[in-house]
């Protein structure tokens, strides 16, 4: 079986700190090109399928590798992941929206807004905030698993883990590029992250304590992220929607790899099984909290609640209520937990024949808000780590800019 391990890339010429230059043409034009990251030349290496080395991906025939394991694969199986293509082929629309009436018409027709189109300032700001938060989550999300690269228990796992963390970096860059189409540059967004003015997903404020956490993150966190992101493939803003299609495909690999880590542990020694169960216990509730508090009711509050939600729905940025996505995730994940042999830490979890869904308990929203506001096990550590890397690298980026400027001057002088 050929198994691809995420995206393999190598950096060619780096573009340092030039605002706007990093925007990838695929994001701007919507052309279906080979996915790339700004400044990065994609490279597929023959025989880079590092998983296939040891044979079957799941190590057991009980799990059907063709069975959809996450929302991205489900959508692909149902043929609904091509939403963007059916939404707005480039030719269908004669001209760009030149005024807000045209914007409204495009939204009403469920067509895509492109960077050249006029758009309400609030729409632009909402998207910047959401895309930036998403990009920051990819970048901060490298840390919990990056923490295990040097300790992965086998060379195969080490390779998969490096490729995964690398993928997340690519997602971050791709999303920063999407945000740049809205007129803000990566440098500024990073500053907002470092200054705590913009958030990242609160899930990454939890620590990775054992090897099994890498499995639980892939299975649950990437799984929940995909559930959130598949609808975004039909987001009204073209560059974001296109970024999401590509990102979802890779997240889908991550989710399978996480599942496979746990699968292997659950068929291993007693202490490996205990490790897997402990990780599932710790990550289950934070994963459910990833969908955010209910959009209405007592727990609802914060930036995505109430009128914000309504507005985002009307603008085609948000397509499902938080509770709806959470339910879908639970319904998809519980049978997988059963296959794994893991117990999910919720005494209220039971199949509801009438509803045709799994009933489940209440997320601890007090904990959610506490962690979101900064009082989680790793909030301070994540930002400090990110700032340290950024600050330590300042002289390198300055040098690259200085060299580029010198080279330009030299070229101009020799041309004159």
């Amino acid at each position: 079986m050929l198994v691809v391990v995420g995206m393999r890339v190598v950096v060619g010429v780096l573009m340092v700190g030039c605002a706007g230059r990093g925007i990838h043409p695929g994001i701007l034009s919507g052309a279906r090109q080979a996915a790339t990251v700004p400044g990065v030349v994609p490279r597929t290496l023959p025989g880079s399928g590092v998983i296939s080395h040891t044979g079957r991906m799941y190590g057991n025939d009980v799990i059907d590798p063709n069975e959809p394991l996450n929302a991205a694969e489900q959508a692909a199986a149902e043929g609904t992941d091509d939403g963007v293509a059916s939404l707005s082929p480039a030719g269908r629309r004669e001209q760009a929206a030149t005024d807000l009436a045209a914007f409204d018409a495009l939204i009403a027709a469920d067509q895509r807004i492109e960077p050249r189109d006029a758009m309400p300032e609030k729409y632009r700001q909402t998207l910047i905030r959401q895309i930036a938060q998403h990009a920051h989550s990819e970048i901060i999300g490298m840390q919990p698993e990056g923490n295990w690269i040097t300790r992965a228990p086998s060379l195969r796992r080490k390779a998969i883990l490096i490729a995964k963390v690398q993928d997340e970096a690519g997602h971050g860059l791709y999303l920063y590029s999407a945000a740049e189409t809205l007129g803000i540059d990566r440098q500024e967004l990073l500053e907002r992250l470092h200054d705590g003015k913009q958030r990242y997903s609160s899930i990454f404020n939890y620590p990775t304590l054992t090897w099994a956490d890498n499995g639980a993150i892939g299975w649950l966190v990437d799984g929940a992220a995909i559930m959130n992101q598949v609808p975004l493939c039909r987001c009204s803003y073209g560059p974001y929607a296109r970024a999401m299609i590509r990102v979802c495909k890779e997240e889908s690999f991550h989710q399978r790899q996480g599942f496979e880590i746990l699968w292997t542990l659950m068929r291993g020694t007693e202490s490996q099984q205990a490790m897997a169960q402990d990780a599932a216990n710790r990550w289950w509730w934070p994963a459910l909290a990833m969908f955010g508090p209910p959009d209405t009711g007592d727990a609802a509050a914060g930036p995505t609640s109430g009128s914000h939600t309504e507005q985002s729905m009307a603008w085609g940025i948000k397509r499902f209520a938080n509770d709806e996505l959470r339910q879908k995730f639970v319904d998809m994940t519980v049978p997988q937990a059963q296959k794994l042999g893991l117990t999910l830490p919720d005494p209220d979890l039971r199949w509801n024949e009438e509803r045709g869904h799994w009933d489940f308990g209440q997320v601890d929203w007090d904990e959610f808000w506490r962690v979101l506001r900064g009082d989680g096990p790793c909030n301070a550590e994540r930002i400090a780590h990110r700032r340290r890397a950024h600050d330590d690298g300042a002289w390198v980026r300055e040098a690259a800019n200085a060299h580029a400027a010198k080279a330009q001057t030299r070229a101009r002088e020799s041309a004159a």
Partner: protein, 251 residues
Amino acid sequence: MASATYLLGLADDALIYAQRLGEWMTNAPQIEEDMALGNIALDLLGQARALYPHVGELDGTGRGEDDFAMLRYEREFRNVHLVEQERGDFAQEMARLLWFSAYQVELHRSLSGATDEVVRGVGQKAVKEVRYHLDHAQQWVVRLGDGTDESHRRMQAALDWVAPYVDELFDDDPVSVAAVREGSVGVHSPASLRPAVQHVVELTVSQATLTMPDPPAWRSRGGRDGIHSRPMGYLLAELQHIARSHPGATW
């Protein structure tokens, strides 16, 4: 058998450097560089994983990649000291990568001519990869050398730092010489690789407006005999501790 021992050293170089490069992920000066160094680490890991099982075949022990990586002791590792040194600043990494990748370009060219089919395959695949690594290192050495006063100073200091670890890459130890004489694992002994490597490095250094360091007062020795420097034990502790904590487990 000299060939197996020789190849084990090459595999260990690749693994241990991959381990060090992996430490850069989330710590690099910019996100593109997290990806690039991760990519180089993956390529090196791929070299090691291709070579280890073959060593296990050649030496008749049937050991697999994780037996070699996770279950050997420090004295059994045959990598050079260059790759085991602790992660320094970004200039130090680029100085190390410049020498190592320039060396690996020549090495894998040599392996590409091996009569041993596996070794030839590794060489032919890797030679394409390590050209990217070299290109990456060269670009950064030039940027840093030609960049700001600070980057110039750091890059020059990095070249000085790496200098004592360079000779070891090109030592014609008895095992390498015997292995090359056997002919199945390549056509060039380590010492014969040096002129081409030296040329590439000197060219890059002068392009970067830097100077080649004076011959260092001391040089590293012993890696190929399993005599390592202080950081090696800590590196192995981190690399091996999960695997060793669960004897017999699969992952």
